[in-house]
Amino acid sequence: MKKILLGISIVIALLLLPHVAYAMHITEGILPPKWVIFWFVLVIPFVVIGTFRLKKKKKVVPGFLPLVGLVGAAVFVFSCFPIPVIGLNGMATAHPAGTGMSAVLLGPFVSVVIAGIALFIQALFLAHGGLTTLGVNIFSMGVLGSFSGYFAFRLAQRMGLKLFWCGFIAGVVSDLCTYMGTSIGLGLLVFEGDESFSVAMMHSAKAMLEIFVVFMATSQGPLCIAEGIVVGFALSYVYKVRPSILYNLRVIKEQ
């Protein structure tokens, strides 16, 4: 029996490894209607505020919309970089979330909108994620990923760290929080209404922890570090070549 279980686990792990980074998007059909509604209700305020901020900024700075669109496209491409997972000897590649980067460049609310659009395109054209699961995916990648990355970056700046380390921390924290969000979304699936609230929450918390450990133990743990380094290098590169971009986007203050 043990051998069967071990065999099943190894096969599944091997199947999941090469593409596991896209496990950050909960796929279509997984969520029951009550959770679909719950997650959409939760993220709608963030998307609405993000859209209003975009609209307001568009009136003041006419070129802001093309800028958001192009930075959004750049972050989308960035999120497709095939980063080799260290420790697996090049066996697998994983893909960064990219929301940390967009939050640092455009602010967390606009980043939520960008994440929502990227998730919509990925759901339709890559079959990663889904339309009924768009709410939970925006929550994990857009809301948790963007806000955690943004505040981690600002906190690191306040601590007087160099730009590379600020970007590194933003990348690591946003990636970790994105996976935490996905684990919460999936863990809540085992929540049963007929159990008492505390028992149901205990069950869900156990499932969340297990899912998070599976993500981290496969490729996402090393990926967090890799994404942090890539974001750090990317921001340092922009600062070295065209610092005015970072000043204009108010990522750093002009000296």
Binding site: G29, K58, V77, P82, Y237, V238
Partner: protein, 260 residues
């Protein structure tokens, strides 16, 4: 960057065939109803029906099994993952148990049944989404979104992202091959560093391009208004007939006991 090539699946939607010719609002209506019924269903019949129907429809426009298989691989793996999670956490009747790295594992019958239902819902739902994306361009989806009174700003950003995505993919691939020829990917650290400068370069290029795109748009009369100026044609009799047939189909499925 292999995965990016899959993004360019828009070319299926650019073809002219009987499915692409169907009015976008009719398609969105059908797919929307299908996705809702899919997540509402309590047994595997309806999700399987959606899966098979969508598959047959896609076959009629000559979409290969390989293309579909590639798109379905990740959702299927996710479905298996969820089946395991459900098997481990829901139900009472243990069908398989053991320990893995000192951790007690027990698969339960009821949980596996729920997992199987979710797996079929994934198959049905994803196939419905593929039916939409293989037959509808993003421009048409944007036009339909505007007709549905979605915020103009969101539609504009979506159009921009999609318009420049392919351009940036091409530029990234060119830069990557240059980095590769200069041994930029020989070690893990060099790879990460190359990706870092590539990411930085992408930001710079995107912002430079945004500036020139804005200048070009202003010179062509853009004053901060709509980016997408094409309107959808008014619905015709055949579109209304298709809407009506959806109602008839739902009544028929309901009569057959698919929903309760």
């Amino acid at each position: 960057m292999e995965i990016l090539k899959h993004v360019v699946m828009d070319h299926f939607a650019q073809r002219r065939n009987w499915l692409t010719n169907i009015e976008v609002r009719v398609k969105l209506f059908y797919i929307g109803i299908g996705l809702v019924l899919n997540i509402l269903s309590n047994d595997i019949t309806l999700p399987l029906l959606f899966f098979v129907t969508s598959l047959i429809l896609l076959m009629t426009i000559k979409v290969s099994f390989l293309t579909l298989g590639l798109r379905m691989m990740m959702p299927f793996l996710f479905g298996i993952f969820i089946m395991i999670i459900m098997g481990l956490h829901k139900g009472e009747t243990v069908v398989l148990s053991g320990t893995l790295f000192g951790y007690e594992l027990a698969f339960k019958k009821e949980g596996l049944q729920i997992g199987l239902l979710l797996f079929t819902k994934v198959a049905g739902g994803v196939m419905l989404m593929l039916l939409l994306s293989f037959t509808t361009t993003i421009t048409k989806i944007c036009m339909a979104a505007r007709w549905m009174k979605m915020p103009e700003t969101l539609i504009e950003v979506l159009s921009f992202v999609y318009r420049y995505l392919f351009l940036l993919i091409e530029e990234t691939e060119t830069m990557m091959s240059s980095q590769r020829s200069r041994l930029g990917y020989v070690t893990w650290f060099k790879t990460i560093k190359s990706f870092g400068s590539l990411g930085g370069m992408l930001i710079i290029r995107s912002i430079t391009r945004a500036e020139s795109a804005h200048v070009a748009m202003v010179s062509r009369g853009y004053d901060g208004g709509r980016v997408l100026t094409v309107q959808l044609n008014p619905l015709v009799r055949s579109d209304y007939a298709l809407f009506l047939s959806c109602g008839v189909l739902l009544t028929f499925l309901s009569y057959l006991g698919f929903f309760w």
